[in-house]
Amino acid sequence: MGFQIGFPILSVMLAVPLAAAVLCLFLKAPAARMVALAATLADLALGIVLWANYDVGGAQWQFTERANLFAGFQYALGIDGIALMLIVLSVFLMPICILASWESIDKRVGEYMAAFLLMETLMIGVFCAQDLFLFYIMFEAGLIPMYLIIGVWGGANRIYASYKFFLYTLLGSVLMLIAMLWMVNVAGTTSIPALMTYDFAPEAQTWLWLAFFASFAVKMPMWPVHTWLPDAHVQAPTAGSVILAGVLLKMGGYGFIRFSLPMFPDASAQFMWLILGLSMAAVVITSLIALVQHDMKKLIAYSSVAHMAIVTAGLFAFNVQGLEGAMVMMLSHGLVSGALFLCVGVIYDRLHTREIDRYGGLSINMPKYALFFMLFTMASIGLPGTSGFVAEFVSLAGVYQASSLATLVLTTGIILGAAYMLYLYCRIAFGVQKNADAAAMRDLNAREWAMLAPIAAAVLWMGVYPESFLAPMRKDIATLDIRLAKVAPAGDAKPKEGKPHAYPANAVHHESGDAASATRDLEAH
């Protein structure tokens, strides 16, 4: 087997955190922290190597590895541009998560780090699996470390949240397994690239699509099955929220773009209005809910649901802009919501409350913090120059081609988004310092700088020059668009060719001979 860069890089990226996870189980707290940080940084370096060696515009599946394991299972890895970007996002966020847990986690540190590192292995595995069942195993196994992270290190109501998270997502996924078994039985292959070009019978597609939808809609999460998310976010430790919002939610979007759309195009077109309808409902309803939250994390959690709704709408617009916008939205949201949770974590570590009312006027005593927080707030709203703008603009431009009504409603969500984010920022950073303890908080330390600055740089980079992130995905999205072309809806916003007037409406007629007819014409207008 010839490797693109001399060694099986994807396997190494899976193995490094896994080995470190096992090691962490047996280490004392300080050593476990160092091992976890070293392993995640090593994976980040490997991720950069991966990106640097990715051949943009080359073969669709790169860095492929394949080994036959046993009956029906294959250890098949490989990535396309979409997977590459999501893997890079995961490995980028992981060292930041470890840093975020450096001081705030003080009990059972070894087990905590082990859970996080295992999580990293499974996330990368989800994005690079090319075997249907390998994907499923990675997808499902992610529940175990997250359940432990929420349950052991979470907040006061952690047990309820951990159960809800686990059972909700498990119920969504098991039906997908049955659908996968059926698909493999019919198509005779477990290879994802092969299945992506396999044409299932249209009647069967409906059921298969629904089974996959059950899983991805919960993971995404789409309204109305989003209710596990606010609970899980609020109770999880900061780093857990970052990973949950940054990467785990992306598995839902990745699932749609990797499975639902290319494998069941007919059913996808059939259910387009289901998705658009749910997305429209989600954007408006969850934005309104976010407006009235008193808990910072809950507010950001609801804003995640609203942003993810724009992703689903973009995906089901069946055109290049929609798909690209959805992908940029996923990357941007991964960075921005992760950063917002980190910002909440920074002040939570100082005051141990998420109540918005307990803060106020932080821009006076924490100016650097206020600056970062403002940047991420603006990125979340979609201010030009930040990643959020690119994401929202491109995806809504795509949705507009499919349905102007949906775009209208989704855009309302952006206005509401500005409302709740600015309101949040105003209550926390501006105004008088009404709480003495909040006013006494110190500004960012070096560790927190190291967490927030890279994300801020990435957010600006994506906002100013999104081409770096779009280029690797362009060919894959074009391939998908071709596959979807035959089912793409006509759309109601196509420019219609009108009947041109003989002369401009403001024409001034000088020819005296024609005066009478010109007057008639003007009257006719």
Binding site: L69, I137, G151, R158, S162, F166, L167, L175, L177, L181
Partner: protein
């Protein structure tokens, strides 16, 4: 087939029976102090039987009848026997310590275990109703004694009595069904019954088949004939419960498979709906019943009902793939269930009193981390969460069901498994999330740890490395089942 080859084919049973008889004499003429020695010798005898059966299975792998068609050696029987013997060994290793503390351990116990294993081996190898019944009773009668082995404990006595009465009832139902089957087919031989039923299947024979299946449902504790299980599992001494949940269960499932796919194999359409109902009912009742339980053994009893439901999904497919799925499931179920019960056995407080309820094990991850991690892996495996090996067990049976066009069964079954996941998660929640209110507890003997480690390794993701071998064995075992007709 000559007499010599018949004896060779039944070598494991003959050897174990002889060992049992000799050891019984030793027990009769020596004091109680020899009990430990008898146990070691019994384990050695069982180990010999494993090696003998294993050699038969892999090296010579004959498919032959012994004693004129009363008994058959094939890949299925040998595989089930190896599982039964190994489970019996595991239970024997952890037993003496438990009874010695109450001074109740006696040499009869390992000897009875040997006879029970012989009976279980005959159940899965029988190809004649007579042999089957003898094996069934031999295994069951020993089990009744185990359940009430703690003579001074009223719970143990109650368990023994309940087990005896309901077991006898089940045996009676099976016997009645067998008489009908014999009456309508004119033979007790599996092959001849199949031939007779293939040509005509009168209503009376249908009744006979339903009675036999009902009795077997009692034995494997499938809903709606599961009521005895929680009481017996809770009341019986823990090592005995571990045994009940493993070896006799494998034997009963093996015998059910042989009956359903052998003599009744031509009537799959007739029994499939019964099996589908029992399967879904077991999955749902096993999951819902467990939710309110506080006693850990009772909870695991419901868990075993739940697992039987998944096993029956494979049987409902009535295909070689389904049979192979059941065989694989059994191979994974045995270490899962034995491991869980042994972990429970190792839970004792500082005075050596067993911990039996959820309240007792709260915060176990702090007081005994290694044990808590083992239990966590076992519970996730029982819940069928990948990457643990329990996932593979569920995977193969559901795959078989989907291939046999039983998609609704598979979908309902797997959705109901989420209910089951709730109480497995509760185990983990209590151990890992709750605060501990107690001091660290006493450690456990090395023998317990060894057996637990083997079980946990078997169900860990490392188990997947065994799958090429396991699928090969399961496929040949399944093929043997279908070759019987």
């Amino acid at each position: 087939m000559g007499f010599a080859s018949s004896l060779w084919f039944t070598g494991a049973e003959v050897g174990l029976s002889l060992a049992g008889l000799v050891l019984l004499l030793v027990v009769a003429w020596t004091s109680h102090s020899s009990a430990r020695l008898i146990t070691i010798l019994s384990v050695a005898a069982l180990f010999g039987a494993v090696v003998f059966t294993g050699v038969e299975l892999w090296q010579t792998s004959p498919a032959g009848d012994a004693f004129g068609g009363l008994y058959r050696v094939d890949a299925f029987g040998s595989f089930a026997k190896v599982l039964i013997y190994l489970a019996t060994i595991a239970c024997l290793i952890v037993t003496p310590r438990f009874f010695e503390e109450s001074g109740a351990y006696r040499g009869e116990y390992p000897v009875l275990m040997l006879f029970s294993a012989v009976g279980a081996g005959m159940m899965v190898s029988a190809t004649d109703l007579m042999t089957l019944y003898i094996g069934l009773e031999m295994s069951s009668l020993s089990s009744y004694v185990f359940a009430s082995f703690l003579k001074g404990d009223w719970r143990s006595n109650e368990a023994g009595l309940k087990y005896f009465i309901l077991g006898a009832l089940a045996s009676g139902i099976i016997l009645y069904g067998m008489s009908l089957v014999y009456g309508f087919s004119g033979s007790t031989d599996y092959g001849q019954i199949r031939a007779a039923f293939d040509s005509s299947f009168p209503m009376g024979a249908l009744f006979g088949m339903v009675f036999v299946l009902t009795g077997l449902a009692f034995k494997i504790a499938a809903v709606p004939f599961h009521m005895w299980t929680p009481d017996v599992y809770e009341g019986a001494p823990t090592p005995v419960t571990a045994f009940f949940a493993s070896a006799p269960k494998v034997a009963a499932v093996g015998m059910l498979m042989r009956m359903a796919l052998g003599p009744f194999g031509g009537e799959a359409e007739a029994w499939r709906q019964i099996v589908i109902f029992a399967s879904l009912a077991s999955i749902v009742v096993g999951a819902l019943g467990a939710i309110g339980q506080q006693n850990l053994k009772r909870l695991l009893a419901y868990s075993s009902i739940n697992n039987i439901g998944f096993l029956l999904v494979g049987l409902a497919a009535a295909t070689p793939a389904g049979a192979a799925g059941v065989v694989t499931y059994l191979a994974i179920y045995v270490p899962m269930t034995v491991g869980s019960f042994i972990a429970l056995l190792m839970l004792r407080d500082a005075e050596g009193k067993p911990l039996e309820t959820f309240a007792d094990i709260s915060g176990l991850a702090v007081t005994r981390p290694a044990l808590a991690w083992c239990l966590m892996l076992l519970m996730f495996s029982l819940a069928g969460i990948p990457p643990l090996f329990g996932f593979w067990a569920k995977f193969v049976v559901f795959q078989a069901a989907v291939q046999a066009d039983l998609v609704p069964l598979a979908a309902i079954g797997i959705a109901a498994s989420v209910i089951g996941a709730f109480y497995y998660l509760k185990f983990i929640k209590v151990m890992f999330f709750d605060e501990s209110g107690r001091a660290p507890e006493a450690g456990s003997p090395a023998g317990h740890w060894a057996v637990l480690a083997v079980c946990v390794l078997a169900i860990s993701p490392l188990g997947y490395f065994a799958t090429p071998w396991l699928s090969g064995v399961a496929n040949s075992a399944a093929a043997a089942l279908f070759a019987i007709a």
